[in-house]
Amino acid sequence: MNAARWEQIQVLFHEVADLPDPAQRASLEAQCAEDPALMTEVLSLLEEDARGDSLLDRDAAHVAAEVLDEGIPPALLDQTFGPYRLKEALGQGGMGVVYLAEREDLGSVAAIKILRDAWLSPDRRERFASEQRTLAQLNHPAIARLYDADTLPDGTPWFVMEYVEGVPLTEFCEHHASSIPERLRLFRAVCEAVEHAHRHLIVHRDLKPSNILVKPDGSVKLLDFGIAKQLESLEGPVDRTRTGLRLMTPAYAAPEQILGDPVGIHTDIYTLGVVLYELLTGRLPFDLSNRTPGEAETAIIEQGPERPSGAAKEKSISRRAWADLDVLCLTAMHIEPQRRYRTVEALIRDIDHYLAGEPLEARPDTFGYRLGKYVRRNWRPVSAATASFIVVIGLVVFYTVRLATTRNAAVAEAARTQRIQHFMLNLFQGGEEAVGPADSLRVVTLVDRGVRDAQSLDGEPAVQAELYETLGSIYQKLGKLDRADSLLRAALDQRRSLFGSDDAEVAKSLVALGRLRVDQADYKEAERLIREGLAISERHRPPGDPAIASATLALGQVLEESGKYDEGIKVLEEAVRLRGMAPAQPTTELAASMRELANTHFYAGHLAVADSLDRLVLALTRKLNGERHPLVAEDLINLGAVQHEWGHYQEAERYYRQALDITQAFYGPSHYKTAAGLTVLGRALIFQKRYDDAMPLFHRALAIRERVFGKVHPQVASTLNEMGGIALAREKFGEAEALASRVLAIYRTVYSGKHNLIGTALANLASVYMAQHQYARAEPVLREAIGVFTETQGAAHLNTGIARIKLGRTLLRQRRYAEAARETLAGYQILTKQTDPGVSWLVAARKDLVAAYDSLGQAEKAAQFRAELADTAGKAANAAKRN
């Protein structure tokens, strides 16, 4: 059929379609007299038109129901998921299906979530992986735990998590006819779980009763982090593109999710408010069932809900108590995010206040309210008084209450700042290098604000000092050493003037300042400060006190950094002993001290000791933090480094791969930590000359680092440098030259003055020229490199020596023998003092010296180096035989 014929058919079809039967027939026969086929066509269409029972007459929904099947696909029943096998379907969301699974060896049960139809889109796969990462990060009794994760052979991802047998929060409360305080206590437990997630910068975004189960023993579990989002910073909102609304349940959506505004912890606070509303009133704040999406939106973003007190059926509590609950709930659910509770913790505090019958913090601070609350708590004396007495009492109470609340506020504030410190420290612990240019800007702004707040705390010098110390340490982790310096010194001065020089708090400040001096590479001063702090702590604190252990660890680290390995080992052994003696159970602090001890042994060249210590630490870390914790990855890398030093590159590779696997699962495939893992693995491959395997790893690492740190950054340069090395080894000179030049350009930009890395980049670029026999081009580059090394690291540094040997080689090849001999000899003399006589650079130097002196006719000198060459070659051969 062609278009013209179809046109002809349908014109006729429409013409006769609505005619009564006989007229239709007559008309068709008249018009199709010469084209019977046309008549057949039109008749068949009319027949279908009359039937009206085709697929198109049904609803697309029914079609969807048929092709999008549910239940356990038979193919899945035959699969094993690690040690698990599926038992039955538990439930399903838009994304994954959750099955009950049994562990075949142990008989224990777990829940397995499988991404249904993984083929559909990368978006879904990424979201699924993100949930898995989120669960891996969270470790809280009220959050379902992640056990295992993998993919099926067909690429379908799955993960195993704790199976929670319980009923949804609201159902539990209804079934048990829980009282309001009971409901609030359950709700409080939910808040704690959410707060734990927030501490890890994770917003849940889909809180609702069906995701909150209560177990028979009354404990709660938070489930389904399917659309949870990792925040980049405490106050930074999630980007607008993924507010998560599309995936969440509209009845629990916050206004900002509907408006497409940034979401953050304030969004979870709103949703907690909705859950609380439902718990208090037995219904949702907005009835969306009979509204169009537009009306629903208006209700949520403009009107706000009815007061819970008005909506509730429960009347067993007083009107006054309801007034507080209204405030609590509606503060959490405020349309404007900035007027909600600032943190879940603040919400928890008000729940506690309510349960204790104390004034809420969220309550507008009115005299009547405070007085009312006070009078209620102390109703006996008040009601016993006469009317005039009440007025007097009222005034006294007013002033007393005001004074008390001010004092309480100060105490609460101090407690709060301490919690903030912990919060912030947790925030940056282990993540300090994470902070690339863009992020650090934001975090630094945050800390700057903290400093301003701290400065205004003049009335509380002790709290202020504490804050200065915390904020100073944060600046230090962010690499803002100057600001860290002034804050840590301010903390020290303040404590000295408050408590005198010989005081435990002063000791803490001394150690903190000492740690900063390590970062500033002022090891002498660092050692002095830490020793002084340690001595004070030992005087004021009992043996085995954590402050002593942590100062001892710090001292060990200084000694390690300054190359005093033997002394460092002694101190760190003491640190391990201190950490090991107090608690009955091994702790993460013990593991940290042992790790540092292992590092020192490693740097001191005691590889076997480092190896066995690392193994202990690994076992300990696995026990303390679980199999897939990033610290496990760190320990595996340490073990790999020992193997690498031993020249067991395949073993090293094995460790590095295990580490990378964990890092990737934990941080995701495009995290800067993953880039670091790729890089060490790539190096192990380079040493096996497996350049084709290594190159893709570096490409991946490069892409990540360019994205995270920007194109001009030392981390990017370091990856480019590895790639340049590979290109050179494969004799791809053009590529190697381009890479080396980019490295150089980056270092010149980043370190605007002189830096030894600029020297390294120059020397590497020269190597590329030399490999192409372009000695005249290499020469000025090497001369500049020597200048940089001499200035930054000293004339006698190894780098200076090697660069001079290389310069000697370029001069030799240009037949400038006298100059060549002078440079090579200078380099040779630097190296012989510091390295093993068999190192390749010394061998090369001797060969070049022989050649230069031969050409210069200085047979005696040539003979001297010939003899040395023969000597080292003989020793090397003997050594090889012994091995």
Partner: protein, 193 residues
Amino acid sequence: MTLRSIRTEHGLEGSELGALLGDRSALDHLFSVTYEELRRLASSVRRSDPNASLSPTTLVNEAWLKLRNSPRLAGVPRLHFKRIAARAMRQVLIEAARRRKAQKRGGEALTIVTFEDAPDPTPTGADQLLGLDAALQELARLQPRQALVVESRFFGGFDVAESAELLGVSEATVLRDWRAAKAWLARELRRAS
């Protein structure tokens, strides 16, 4: 999921759509949403959920509400968005039908099927859907506008007025197109089965 037919088929023109379709992540996003909405729809049908508000119309409207604020889709007129969503619905369903059939075929070469085990001769929903897709492609060759009417109404839940506005024709034309196309497609499906 294959998105290539979206790029090459008729009916989606205009520079802003071109730009939008060039953006894989916006599309990917849309497909995820569509898929999840369809799942919701399918399971409400299966549970015979009396909540009658679920229909392709609601789904596409909700998808629009949910996605319109994402920056890549901002500025796309609502009807154009809905048209893309209808296409997405179609694609997702067709792909699901294909997968379903492929699963059934899996291992066909190895198993010997007894007569009792032979597949039910009545065509399944998946077969019909694939048949409809093929017939729609044929219709698009004969009369592109009619294919679009079917796609927007059946998969996208457009009402007559919206289809008319989208295609720049009168409502009467939409009704005529729908009726003729429906009859033609029904006949093609019957012939194919």
